[in-house]
Structure formats: structure tokens, C-alpha cells
Symmetry: C2
């Protein structure tokens, strides 16, 4: 019998999702940044995302930054659908030996992020783990998106330009904790342009772009020399480091000119285009089980 | 600095919830079985709940039963508000050494429960834990409740009778894995009677009844000899074992007569009443951090 490590993350998810039932008002099921459901113009987004001590943050990291990250990752996924945050639930699994101060600071970081970017915490739970277990913070919740602004990973068309916001690579030096979920940017993009496909970059461009192109039934071609590099990052790091939490999206429209006047402090880079190719491989990126 | 273990679960939750912001359309925030939000007659329930290997299930337990339990716990909370299941997200945190077959069986158990009681899985995530870590399954999601049928823990009135469904105690022999979420029963109760307060029994009557009475600003008096005992269970076990997943509710109406013809195979027992007393203590029950 295969282990999870041998099968890998994408393989596992594909296997688990294959047999799932659905219901009439589910518009987008498993496999995108969020699930989408509802009728009418205002749709509901559902998302869950966890951070694990030793995987997503170091044991001696400031709890406030961990809290920010735990919430911002979910907000980043709402943004990736063109949506906005609503109500969140927070699950904390931890050893009884963790200090109350650490958990208070964690909540401070979460509420700071929500105060800045929208959304409220409406519940959750705490559950105990054996002494010595890694602390886990799982954030689940509801966002909203207007039907006219909803973007999935699946709508990319042949010839569409591929864009990324911000700069890529080297997030381990700090950005992976303190990043800005691109809610405003996604709202502006989806209001003013025909964005055909979008996702947030969590596992690295090398892992995430193939996912988007596969769901859009296209290949892709990128100009690696055009990648917007973080200071000191190599092209390979920009492709593979992950945790950039920038938007990756496609459009047939030229967005760069208006972008500059709207968001003068955030780069937007056209890095390539969707092609008829069937090659979905790019070297690098992060697999949760198969490292 | 105090540890979580010293503060205890209820103390920790109270501390964390004290400073939370809210928003206009949140009707019930942290502290009840579910959060409730929305406008109009059809409201949204949000809930998250996790099961942990070694705490909620033994390492050698059949994965199918674990999956059933993980989902049924959340459905039981929807029932406790008078609601029904909608769309769920499943987070699995586990070591790469877990077999793919185990996870497949887990999903089988989850979908079996949903197939029987309603609700669909629309997404989730898998995340890796260090080798040897306990497996954690967290289920979050959305339910629905009609405003006219919504019941919180806070509406109990002086003199209301206190009822429990089913039998209590000894769930460790199997029921804690295979229980039936009381969705049908709660729907019938809230449609036909004025149910003033309700919750599901997860930590044991001794822990849960004081929570309900405290939120309803009442005391309580129960007849311990009237408690409906599972076969072989003592009164103390019925009070303290936990994981009964039965409904605990209050009403000024006499429900027992019509109950018997509606649900002939499930007991309903009047165990006491809400009083002006201020005593919220009952000996027993389960605290996640302070055992």
C-alpha cells in the first residue's frame, strides 16, 4: 500500500476528490483557491487553510506574525477568486504547555490582519495535542464574491497574457509571514478587466502555474528572464521558493498601463502567455508530502 | 506566564473572544454550537471541529469510523442550532508515512455520513506533519437554519424543563465513533415546539449543562436518578463520560407525549428544570487542557 509521501499532494487530492458528491448550488468544488456556491449575483466563498509549526513557521517565531500569516493566507485565497473576506473560524491545536501569552499574541496578529483587510472571527475551537506536538492553526471561513467578478483557475484562453503581481522568491527572509493579501488589487482587476483565470502563488510559480494552465486546458510559455525577482533572489528561487502570496492571472487585455497609475508601488509583470502546448512541467516548487 | 493547561479550555476561549470585533450581520458569534449570520429568513451557520489521533480516536481505529465521527460532530452542531448541513471543507494534517488506503477509508466514512444525513464536501487541504505526529482531521463548513427555527444556548427561561435525547454515558465503547447526528430530531423539535435553548452533548452533561444554564442566565436542578443511562453506565459516567452527541434542550412545553409517536426508537427524558439558582457546577465532564 502506497504512503501519502509516495503519492504526493496533487495525486492525493485528485484521488480524494474523484468520488465526491456535489449539490445544485455548488458552482466551484474542490481544486480551486476557494469553493464557490450560491444563486444570484452575490456568491459565497468557502476556504480552509492551516499553518503548522516547523513547516509554515519556526518554533521561536513571534506569535503575532504567525497569527497574521494564518489569516492572511485565507484572505489571499478569497482575493484569488476576486472576492472579499467575511467570517472566519479559528482552530488551534496545541500542547497544554503552550503559554496563554503566546495564544493571545497569535490572536492579536489575526485581528490586526482582519482589521486592515476585512473579515471577522466568529468562532472556532481549541484542541489539545500531546506534549511536544507541533502547534497547528487552521483558519476556515466564508468570503463573498460578485458573480460578475468571480475568477477561477479554469478560464484561461490560448494566447492570454500571464501576469504576476509583486516580486517573487526569497519569502523565507520574512515576507512569508508579513505579506499583504492582494484583496484590493484583485477587486480592481476583476472590476475593470476580463481576468480569465487567477490564483494566488503559495507553492511557487513552478508548481502553481502548471496547475492553472492544466485547469485552463492550455500549455504555457514563460520568459524566465522577465520574472520579477525579490532582492537577492535567483530565477530558480523565484520559481521554486513558494509562499509569495502574489496573484498569478491571465487576461487577453493589456493591463500594465492602467495598473501603474492605480498601484504605483506594486509591480505588475507580464511573464508569458498561454499556449496550445501540453507541457505542464516547470522545475521547482513545493510539495507538502514529496520533498 | 500561565500555560494553556493551567488556564483550562473555557478560560482560554473566554479570554480569546473578549477582544474580537464583530460585524452587522453576525447574529451569533463565538461561544455557541455554531456561529450564525445573515439577513432574512434563511440564515447561515458556520462551524469548525477537529478530531485528533490519541484524543478522539485510537491509532488503530478503522479510518472509516474516524471519518464518520469527524463529519458527524459538525453535523451534530448544526442540529444543535436547529439547522441542516450544507457544504464542508476537510483539513487533514498527517505524516507522509500514513497510507493512502487509510485516507481513502477516512473519506469513505465521511461521505457515508453525509450521504445519510445531508451535506457535501466542497474542498479542503492536506498538510504534512513531522513523522510520528498524531493525525488530525478538521472539518469546517456551512449549514443553514430558518430564522424561526434557530435555537441558541442563551434563551432558556426560569422554570423551563430540561430534556435530553437518547441515553448517556459509556460512549467510549463505540458510540463516540458511530453516533447519529440528531438533525431530524432537532428539525422536528424546532418546527413544532418553542425550544428555548439547545446544544449537543459533547463534553458530558456535567460540563455542558452548566454552559447552557450560564448562557441562559439561570441555574438548574436535575434529578440524577432520572438520567437515561446507557447499558452498564453509572450515573457518574452519564454525567461525565462525554461524547454522547445527544441533544440537550429546554422548553416550557410538554414534549414527551408527541415525541414518543414521532421517534418511538429514541428516548426523550426530562431530567430537571432551569431555576433561579446561581450554581453552575456539576461534578465531572471533559476539559481539553485541564484533565
Amino acid at each position: 500500500m502506497k504512503t501519502i509521501g509516495e503519492l504526493g499532494e496533487d495525486g492525493l487530492i485528485a484521488k480524494l476528490c474523484a468520488g465526491l458528491a456535489t449539490s445544485d448550488h455548488v458552482i466551484v468544488g474542490p481544486g480551486d483557491d476557494c469553493a464557490v456556491m450560491g444563486d444570484g449575483e452575490n456568491l459565497t466563498l468557502l476556504k480552509t487553510d492551516a499553518v503548522v509549526e516547523g513547516v509554515h513557521f519556526l518554533p521561536d517565531e513571534k506569535a503575532r506574525r504567525v497569527g497574521w500569516k494564518a489569516v492572511a493566507r485565507v484572505l489571499s485565497d478569497f482575493a484569488a477568486m476576486g472576492g472579499k473576506p467575511g467570517e472566519l473560524l479559528v482552530t488551534i491545536a496545541l500542547s497544554p504547555q503552550v503559554s496563554v501569552g503566546w495564544v493571545s499574541d497569535l490572536y492579536e496578529g489575526m485581528t490586526a490582519c482582519l482589521g486592515k483587510h476585512g473579515g471577522v472571527i466568529v468562532g472556532g475551537e481549541t484542541t489539545s495535542l500531546p506534549v511536544g506536538s507541533p502547534t497547528i492553526i487552521s483558519v476556515a471561513g466564508r468570503g463573498t464574491v460578485r458573480r460578475s467578478q468571480m475568477v477561477t483557475r479554469a478560464g484561461g484562453q490560448l494566447g492570454d497574457a500571464i501576469y504576476v503581481t509583486g516580486i517573487l522568491g526569497g519569502s523565507i527572509t520574512g515576507k512569508h509571514l508579513d505579506f499583504t493579501p492582494r484583496i484590493l488589487e484583485a477587486a480592481w482587476l476583476t472590476e475593470h478587466f476580463q481576468i480569465t483565470a487567477m490564483m494566488d502563488l503559495s507553492d511557487g510559480l513552478a508548481k502553481d502555474l502548471p496547475r492553472l494552465s492544466l485547469m485552463s486546458k492550455c500549455g504555457f510559455q514563460i520568459d524566465k528572464k522577465a520574472l520579477p525577482l525579490s532582492e537577492g533572489a535567483s530565477i530558480q528561487e523565484a520559481l521554486g521558493d513558494g509562499e509569495d502570496y502574489e496573484l498569478l492571472f491571465t487576461s487577453a487585455e493589456d493591463i500594465s498601463a492602467s495598473w501603474g497609475s492605480q498601484f504605483p508601488n506594486l509591480r505588475l509583470t507580464k511573464i508569458g502567455e498561454l499556449t496550445p502546448g501540453k507541457d505542464h512541467e516547470l522545475d521547482g516548487g513545493w510539495d507538502h508530502f514529496n520533498r
